[in-house]
Structures are given as structure tokens and as C-alpha cells.
Amino acid sequence: MADDGGRGGGAARVRVGDGAFDLGAETADFAAAQPGAGAVVAFAGLVRDEEGDLHALEIEHFPEMTGKAIAAIAGEAGARWGLTGCLVIHRVGRLAPGEAIMMVATAARHRAAAFAAAEFLMDYLKSRAPFWKKELRRSGPVWVAARAEDEAALARW
């Protein structure tokens, strides 16, 4: 996977690529690199099987924009919640039901900031990072439509 690299203390690490990742190992490595943190929150999004109707999920992105967009979102989360660091991994390409699509991890002195920053990251990654999901269903391919509630979720921040 391409690695956009960290930015020193309170670094945001962003990785976008087609390879699988190890949620446990990524979370452990991230947690081990957070001096001063008292809380780490990790979230992973998985491909739902939609009651067996889905045989794969294809994720397209805008490669030249994706890293910049995520770095900006992560940078804002870091500044707002005083994170010691955050990690965003997002896969592209074809994924099978049950596979992890993406993860975020956040670290802060206290848990409230780590939880809030993780939710903020998820809300913004859903609607402001240039990814598009296509469901390959038994009945045919369907582009996933953005939901009004996803857009509305941004308003709370």
C-alpha cells in the first residue's frame, strides 16, 4: 500500500491501497507509538453480505485527491481533539463479504476525545473522501447511493 507518511508529533498516518490489512497488528502498532496517550479507539468497517445477495464490493477512488482529502480530515481531527496520533487505512478494489474495508484509530490522553475524533473521522470519510462503492449483487451491479443521514451527520460537528 502507498503510505503518505506521518507528520511528526500528533501524526496522522494515511494509507490507501488494494492490499488487506491486519486490524489487530495495525491497532497494536499504532497504540505502541502514542507516547502520552491514555486512550486508543479503533474502528473497522466490514463488507456486509446483505443476506447472501452480495458477492463482492468494488471500491473506486480518485487517487490524486484521496490522500490529500483524508490528510485534511485527519489533520482537523488531530487539532480539534488534541490527538497524540491517528491512523486511517482505506482499501480500494474488489473485496469479498466479511473483509475489512477500512479502519481508523485515534489516540488521546482521555477516552472522550479518542471516541469523538474516531466518529468525526468516520462521518467525514463517508461523505468527503473520494471513494465510491459498487455492490456486485446476484441481481446485478448497483452503485451505493449516498444517504441523506450521512450528509446530515456532518452537521453535528
Binding site: G45, K126, R128, W132, K134, W143, A146
Partner: protein, 83 residues
């Protein structure tokens, strides 16, 4: 001026291409859309409802009223579905 136009997701599928270069005098994104619409049936289908589209100028999200002066690339795509 020459502008690289990029298409993603179902916009790409309707247009039938992921990118093209156009020679245009359009002052805004909306004016460019009006020109692109006439290029083919696929373009017309892709741009039938601009309320369903989002746009990025030089890889930053922008509105349809955004000026194109100095722009090199305009991308059209549906609302994003990451996460």
C-alpha cells in the same frame, strides 16, 4: 484553454470514459457542463441531473459556479460513499 476532465463511478460509466481533454472557453464549471452535455448521448445521460453530481476543480471540492480561470482539471462524480 485545455482542461482535463475526469469522471468517476457511474458518471464514468455513463460517459464511457474515465478522462478526456477538452478545449473550452467556459468561464465556470456550469458552463463547461453545458458544453459537455452536447458531446454524446452518454454525456447527456451523465449530466442529466447535476443535483446528483459533485465536482472537484484541481482536486479540491468546488461548486458548479466555480470559475475555471487557471484550472487544469475538473472532475465529476456522484456523492462520495467512503468508510
Amino acid at each position: 484553454m485545455r482542461i482535463d476532465v475526469r469522471y468517476f463511478a457511474w458518471v464514468r460509466e455513463r460517459v464511457g470514459a474515465s478522462r478526456e481533454t477538452v478545449e473550452t472557453g467556459a468561464a465556470t464549471v456550469a458552463a463547461l457542463v453545458a458544453e459537455l452535455r452536447g458531446q454524446s448521448e452518454g454525456h447527456a445521460a451523465a449530466f442529466a441531473d447535476v443535483a446528483a453530481l459533485r465536482v472537484a476543480v484541481d482536486q479540491a471540492l468546488a461548486g458548479f459556479d466555480a470559475p475555471l480561470a487557471g484550472a487544469r482539471e475538473v472532475a465529476f462524480f456522484p456523492p462520495m460513499t467512503g468508510g
